[in-house]
Symmetry: C2
Subunit: 197 residues, 2 copies
Amino acid sequence: MQSTEIDKLTKLIAKLPALGTRSARRIVLHLLKKKESMLVPLIAALQDVSEHIKKCPVCGNFDTQDICNICRDTTRDTGVVCVVQDVADLWAMERVGIYKGQYHVLGGILSALEGITPEDLNIEGLFERLRAGVIKEVILALPATIDGQITAHYLLARLKEQGIKVTTLAQGIPIGAELDYMDDGTIQLALSARKEL
Amino acid sequence: MQSTEIDKLTKLIAKLPALGTRSARRIVLHLLKKKESMLVPLIAALQDVSEHIKKCPVCGNFDTQDICNICRDTTRDTGVVCVVQDVADLWAMERVGIYKGQYHVLGGILSALEGITPEDLNIEGLFERLRAGVIKEVILALPATIDGQITAHYLLARLKEQGIKVTTLAQGIPIGAELDYMDDGTIQLALSARKEL
């Protein structure tokens, strides 16, 4: 008995990550009730993003400029590149705010299960950037999952051939975590990589 | 380091029900990655809803027509009106599909805590509809909360003055529920309203 317009919108919103039909219905109703304060500004903001945001051809970040503001920032260290799986990881690193080098977004990680090969990722773009000879260190900030580590090993082997310094984020117990709730693998790893105080 | 366009959109989406900053970021990224298959259709669907959907002046439902399709449906029983708190409840009733009468959306319930008085709700609209003399029964399908029951009692008193038959949804143990997990009040109520088989 809902109109097709509402139905269509509900189905589209339900497809967004972390949402389902029930939450989509609540969102649509909320938008209908707050048309002037929510629906109209939301449409304008979506249009703005749709029209102005593009993918940076150098690193894969999203920005208004053709070359993103991180790649163009001359105060940042061009000798270090942090390789991440996704733009979300780049945003997470930027929120912390202590990293002052460049990024390279792979757009995914290798996965035998999902059939993702090196050709599907933005890997050649990374090696093309290395060819200029400016980059001295590559930080692999990939997920601490099996696929993430396989991707890191693949990149490590190819980067070593080129004589580039390769580092990775430290692994261990995260701040605020209780040992009791940590998985065995992390505890094992943190124990074997223990540091003297 | 995110562009202001992305930031603005993220903040708007984070204000939607059941969403926060983290899920909003994931949604924005998803929309950016699937521009043609998600972002563009979503903008179109939102615009469609924004342009075409209006509130029915009779019952408070949302529809494309000035008078909604439920109010205009001549196959439905015009002698029964089901009073609900919100359009979401109307939709829930319609999904079940067995109710064939009319609706009346209050747009909220009375609340001493939130300062919601009868004037803030679409209550006068209900009594105006009753004046035509067609409606013989009012079903109060309001929340089984204290505020919901206070609202029901308020309406009951006023409806009784007019000699209208007033009913309410049955209360008890929901289908599939385990007694062990039910609250004491519901068990008490279900026991005192027990039926002979």
